[in-house]
């Protein structure tokens, strides 16, 4: 197996060490910036960030919250991060709540994690008021509501520090094995499970990401912080990697903020890349340049295959118009189409696909800047072992969770002889690159014992221009669950079929599916097509909720 040398990176065992060390010699350098709704830039330096965290953690101690669960409810903002850092700094546990969940689920999450305090955005105040635990303290992330806010707590903490209160508690030892966060799985399971991650697991994983990927000096993220991908990879890794991080918490302004921030590195999910890609082609079509662009990209493909990797003036101009300064995109959360990554590559933008799972803090593997295989999710990270057991990807290492909070049975079920069973199916190639071929529970199992990963067929069907989204599943046709036919539920691309009747759409899709079937073994033939009226329901990371299909 080939050896790929890792980038040099600093590792931290606890959040306090990281927060204290980051500003050393760089106090006045920008740490985190963001844009207001009106486009005004705000930000904090590394020195300010450390000072805010020190004060806020002091307030947490003053309020008796040290070692207890502090739930954070809100979309991405600086205060969200401050609460997370202050909680983990003083040895409390940050409970990261997915605010896209329905009200009942949010209340259930708060109850099941025994939160001693809720710190929430104003838009979630009405839900948090319904949390029926009188002993639970409540605060707002920012001003404008019935409760004190994070700024008030910072001021309070500052006074405590100046008066020398809480000094002993402030220096209490926090070890790498202490739980730092409880994060809910965003998987396609029927319900969310609270995953406990240690200080060491999260921080080691954040540094591991950097050991694999060299980032630029300005980074941008709009990934939700309440998921591990957003927090560990897009915030912690970027800060440890000394990048100036621009954060966005509002899908409404993502495109604007990318233009304003001018990042080199962006972390995102396939939906956003597909959206940018679609817009690029729509613009080219409306300018009558689509044909020329297609020819140019074909030519680039040939030149790249011959090792001639210059981008050229035309593609540089398109890149700058569509992507600004972005040169590196790290994409995770779902499978990304190879063809889009290739096109971006021809324009001089590297797209690195990675793979993670909440229970692994989350990064398991990621491609490298100069060792990038588009179909693969990359090389396992440094402190993470990967092995394949009967097709399933198993993970062992420092990044693996401590367990599901108060669900020992589920924890036991998820572990296999010290390895975490991901439920994902894949393989490692001779160079050690990991490939995902499906999810174990999504496998379509045929009566003849053969199995099929629906994702494989979905990728083929997605190439049909009339298809916007597709889910392939095994439609039960007989008495047993293994007696199935492959079915495809398709949400058509309305823009491309606005002049067509439903019958014409179905007829056209059937003709394309027949062509796909020609190359498949008989048992894998797609035998049923359902046209959907609405796009598929998705999780916050834009994964289709398959169980709802």
């Amino acid at each position: 197996m080939k050896k790929y040398p890792l980038n040099q990176v600093t590792y931290y065992s606890c959040f306090r060490d990281m927060i204290e060390a980051l500003p050393q010699g760089r106090e006045d350098e920008p740490a985190i910036s963001w844009f207001t709704r009106k486009g005004e830039e705000h930000g904090v330096t590394l020195g300010q960030l450390r000072e805010d965290v020190r004060n806020l953690q002091s307030a947490f101690i003053h309020h008796g919250l040290q070692g207890k669960q502090i739930a954070i409810l809100g979309e991405n903002c600086y205060e969200w991060l401050l609460v997370y850092f202050a909680a983990t700094y003083c040895g409390s546990i940050a409970v990261c709540v997915d605010v896209e969940q329905p009200e009942e689920t949010i209340l259930q999450m708060l109850k099941m994690t025994d939160a001693a305090a809720l710190i929430f955005a104003g838009s979630l105040e009405s839900i948090c008021k319904k949390h029926a635990d009188d002993s639970c303290q409540k605060f707002l992330l920012s001003e404008g509501g019935d409760y004190p806010n994070v700024a008030d707590l910072i001021a309070e903490g500052k006074t405590c520090r100046e008066n020398g209160t809480n000094l002993d508690e402030s220096f209490a030892v926090v070890s790498e094995n202490d739980t730092a966060a409880i994060v809910f799985t965003s998987g396609t399971t029927n319900y969310s499970k609270p995953v406990m991650l240690s200080q060491g697991a999260i921080l080691t994983n954040a540094s591991d990401a950097l050991a694999n990927v060299a980032i630029g000096s300005v980074a941008f993220t709009s990934l939700p912080f309440y998921h591990t991908y957003g927090l560990t990879c897009s915030v912690l890794s970027m800060l440890i990697g000394k990048a100036h991080l621009y954060i966005n918490g509002n899908l409404k302004t993502v495109m604007r903020d990318i233009q304003l921030a001018k990042p080199h590195t962006m972390l995102t999910v396939p939906l956003m890349l597909e959206t940018i890609h679609n817009k690029l082609w729509m613009t080219a079509e409306s300018n009558g340049k689509a044909k020329d662009l297609k020819t140019l990209l074909k030519l680039k493909k040939i030149l790249f295959s011959l090792g001639i990797k210059t981008v050229g003036k035309t593609l540089v101009a398109i890149r700058e118009k569509c992507f600004g300064c972005i040169r590196l995109i790290i994409c995770g959360g779902a499978h990304m189409d190879r063809s889009i990554m290739e096109e971006f590559g021809f324009m001089g933008i590297t797209v690195l696909q990675g793979y993670g799972i909440t229970e692994c803090a989350p990064l398991v593997s990621v491609n490298r800047n100069h060792a990038n295989k588009y179909d693969s999710v990359g090389l396992p990270s440094a402190h993470c072992e990967v092995r394949i057991d009967d097709g399933e990807i198993l993970v062992r290492g420092k990044n693996v969770m401590q367990g599901y909070y108060k669900f020992p049975d589920l924890t036991e079920e998820a572990m296999r002889d010290g390895w975490f069973a991901t439920g994902d199916v894949g393989y490692l190639d001779k160079d050690g690159f990991l490939y995902i071929t499906g999810r174990k529970k999504n496998l379509i199992v045929f009566k003849n014992g053969k199995k099929l990963s629906p994702e494989k067929l979905e990728e083929k069907i997605r190439q049909i221009p009339l298809v916007k989204e597709v889910v392939v599943y095994g439609a039960i046709t007989g008495a047993t669950t293994d007696d199935v036919q492959v079915a495809a539920s398709i949400y058509p691309n309305k823009e491309r079929c606005s002049d067509m009747s439903s019958y014409e759409i179905l007829e056209s899709l059937q003709a394309e599916i027949d062509l796909i079937n020609r190359d498949l073994p008989m048992y894998q033939h797609i035998q049923m097509i359902n046209i959907r009226e609405q796009e598929f329901s998705k999780t916050a990371l834009q994964k289709v909720k398959r169980h709802l299909v």
């Binding site: 709704r37 979309e75 605010v99 838009s123 509002n250 899908l251 409404k252 302004t253 993502v254 495109m255 604007r256 939906l271 956003m272 959206t275 729509m282 409306s286 916007k468 949400y491 058509p492 691309n493 309305k494 823009e495 606005s498 009226e533 609405q534 796009e535 998705k538």
Partner: protein, 80 residues
């Protein structure tokens, strides 16, 4: 007022998606095939134009053109 708002919504959707021919009953996802990302971009234009903040949890409830118009009226929008 409702008609003025309808015209404004129509113009905005045309600006973002290039689609015309909408009425009160048009469904953003079902009829226009918009993604959550497209809907957010449309809402962004409303926010800028009317100088209001539409929380994301409210955006999920705006499924049809008429929902947007009713929402705007409820928020006290009286002038386009």
């Amino acid at each position: 007022m409702e008609e003025q708002l309808l015209e404004f919504v129509k113009d905005t959707i045309f600006q973002v998606t290039g689609q015309r021919g909408l009425d009160y009953e048009t469904d953003f996802v079902k009829d226009l095939g918009l993604t959550s990302f497209d809907v957010m971009n449309i809402v962004c234009i409303f926010e800028d134009h009317f100088d209001v903040d539409i929380p994301n949890r409210d955006v999920w409830k705006l499924r049809q053109v008429k929902d947007v118009i009713n929402y705007m009226i409820q928020r006290g929008i009286t002038q386009v």
